[in-house]
């Protein structure tokens, strides 16, 4: 088990290096040398200074090495546009809001999606089941900007007197309700479908029949034998869901004017603040890659069969 965990952690390192390299090369390609662009007229002297400051006078592999070193020590470098701010400052300012939004949305998805899937699976082919699956299908297909707009239209404007929810911002719990629902609805639909499927499959298993044959109570059969085996596959959904949440947060933060990473990313692209764009991209990639690693390890802990096969 320990070998498996260490192996998985070690394997993550070259992947991280490769993804950073990809990002780095892509950014270099746009960037070239930002200070030679005609937009900002600077004297050759200042330019040389700036180039030194941003290591642009060094060959690309050295720049890459320095950048990786920076990432490893949690230093994403300075911002190109905001001269006295580092990317770290920007992350520190904006990331907690995105993290909170993502976490709450995930919580919403888990708390409502899993029970929905479980109940649908326990009453297959009933009106409830069909309703839940229709909801799930629709929830996954409707673009989040429409959901967000509709939520604002109804709960902040049309019935604003009743609910009193603000249309934008990220201050106070009232302002967080609509964005969390708008972002969490898709993952919730996904969870409901996934859990329903794995549940139905698990209920057919011989070992569930064994558990019943032992005279265990319906509750224990469900909680110990069915639910655990049904939810293990749901754990592996965390990877794609995280990607989904990150993508979704770009839209949701944009619509609700939440000063998070997603909104700032768009701002940075428009402002051509490429060191920020690159820093944030690397940050998001690292989060996903590390989350995948944790999911794999968790899966190994939860399902004893995979442990040995994979070491």
């Amino acid at each position: 088990m320990i070998r498996f965990i260490i192996g998985r952690i070690l394997w993550t390192i070259p992947v991280l290096l490769l993804v950073i390299l990809m990002t780095f090369l892509m950014m270099r390609h746009i960037q070239g040398n930002p200070f030679r662009h005609s937009e900002r007229a600077v004297s050759p002297e200042i330019q040389a200074n700036l180039e030194r400051k941003f290591n642009l006078d060094k060959p690309w592999y050295e720049q890459y090495f320095l950048y990786v070193k920076g990432v490893a020590t949690f230093d994403l470098g300075p911002s190109l546009v905001l001269r006295n701010q580092s990317v770290n400052d920007i992350v520190r300012e904006h990331f907690p809001k995105s993290l909170e939004l993502g976490f709450l949305a995930m919580l919403f998805a888990v708390v409502f999606g899993i029970p929905l899937g479980v109940i649908a699976a326990l009453r297959p082919n009933t009106v409830f089941d069909y309703g839940a699956m229709l909801f799930s299908n629709v929830g996954f297909a409707v673009p989040s900007f429409l959901i967000a707009t509709l939520l604002i239209y109804f709960f902040a404007l049309k019935w604003g007197d009743i609910f009193g929810l603000p249309t934008s911002g990220w201050t106070g719990w009232q302002s967080k309700i609509l964005p969390v629902i708008a972002l969490g609805l898709g993952p919730m639909a996904y969870f409901a479908r996934l859990v329903r499927g794995t549940m139905l499959e698990t209920l057919q298993q011989d070992y569930v029949r064994t558990a019943k044959a032992k005279g265990l109570s319906g509750r224990r059969v469900l909680m110990v034998h069915v639910l655990k085996n049904s939810l293990i596959p749901a754990v592996t959904a965390a990877g794609p869901l995280l990607g989904f949440l990150i993508t979704g947060s770009f839209i949701i933060e944009f619509i609700f004017a939440i000063p998070g990473i997603g909104k700032y990313y768009i701002t940075a692209v428009s402002a051509r603040d490429y060191s920020v764009v690159m820093g944030l991209t690397v940050l998001l990639s690292v989060i996903v890659i590390v989350a995948n690693m944790i999911v794999d390890i968790l899966y190994g802990v939860l399902d004893p069969r995979t442990r040995e096969v994979r070491t």
């Binding site: 490769l18 892509m26 746009i30 673009p143 239209y153 794995t198 619509i255 768009i266 998001l284 995948n292």
Partner: protein, 314 residues
């Protein structure tokens, strides 16, 4: 065989879906008309998939035909006709510039669907290449290539799409959008292809071909790749929703297709400015996207029943 948690992820979210036991799709050579006939029969039995397929075709027909026969110039600004409500002359009403929405939504659909299919195609080409190399060569290379994919699984495509657009520079066009949307979205397709190739490799007719001395490229080109056709067709409709939504997201946040050119995403963005007074302007393009995505999901489901019955447990 290595059982990885990712194999689990690859399954449809709805594996225990009722179904019949069928002849294997992957195990049989595809040069049999009966296989396709069986597939059609199984597809037709899935009512949801049939209805979804019909709606999908209707939307396609609408997008192709309406701009040709429409009496309105989709770009002509006419301020007297601003925000007209739906009527016989304008089934969807008109927008902030007095343009006929029925025509414009069809035009936007052309762009959205075109980008969707083109990007899906690129994704499948990359996925087919990566997946068949990994699956065919096997051994440590397969292991390394797959673990690489494992690690990248779920990498958000939006930042990479945005960077790609920035590299190319200028105003995004259809083609730059296609490239941007496919660059970080091919992981799933690669994994599907690889799984299929590995299954096929264990088949007797492939072994027989190798045993009688067929060259590797012949085995690959003649036996393996053609038999991935089934899963590739399914993959088209699995990938399409993501790409169409991706295009819409990019255009919606203003980094994709820009006015006056129209896609459903950019139209939704324009509609968003006036949603308090004229909600139909954001509703119509958004619902078109939702309908198309929903149909694609149901079609993928039906195709899975039809072409690859073994992927779901009975």
């Amino acid at each position: 065989m290595v059982v990885s948690p990712q194999d689990q992820r690859m399954r449809s979210p709805d594996p225990a879906h009722s179904g019949d036991i069928q002849v294997a799709g992957a195990g049989t050579p595809i040069r049999q008309s009966s296989l396709w006939r069986d597939a059609k029969r199984r597809y037709v039995r899935n009512k949801g998939a049939v209805v979804a397929g019909a709606i999908f075709l209707i939307i396609l027909a609408y997008c192709i035909i309406v701009p040709i026969v429409s009496p309105y110039d989709p770009d002509e600004v006419n301020f007297q006709d601003r925000f007209l409500p739906a009527s016989l002359a304008h089934p969807f009403g008109t927008d902030a510039f007095g343009r006929d929405l029925f025509t414009r939504v069809a035009l936007g659909g052309r762009i959205s669907i075109m980008i969707g299919f083109a990007a899906t195609f690129v994704i499948l080409v990359i996925g087919l290449t990566y997946g068949s190399i990994s699956g065919f060569v096997g051994g440590w290379l397969d292991n390394a290539m797959m673990r690489f994919l494992d690690a990248l699984y779920g990498l958000p495509y939006l930042p990479f799409a945005i960077i790609t657009l920035a590299i190319i520079g200028g105003t995004p066009t259809k083609w730059t959008m296609v490239l941007a949307l496919s660059i970080a979205s091919w992981f799933t397709a690669a994994r599907i292809v690889r799984g299929q190739i590995i299954t096929l490799k264990q088949n007797d007719y492939v072994r027989a071909a190798t045993a009688v001395g067929a060259r590797w490229y012949r085995v690959l080109a003649r036996h393996l790749v053609p038999n991935t056709l089934g899963v590739l067709i399914i993959a088209i409709f699995l990938e399409l929703p993501g790409v169409i939504l991706g295009e819409a997201f990019l255009s919606f946040i203003g980094l994709g297709i820009n006015p006056p050119a129209a896609s459903w995403g950019s139209m939704a963005q324009e509609g968003r400015d006036v949603y308090r007074t004229h909600p139909s302007l954001i509703l119509i393009p958004s619902l078109m996207i939702a309908t198309l995505v929903l149909c694609a999901n149901f079609i993928a489901d039906g195709l899975r029943d039809a072409l690859d019955p073994r992927t779901k447990e009975t």
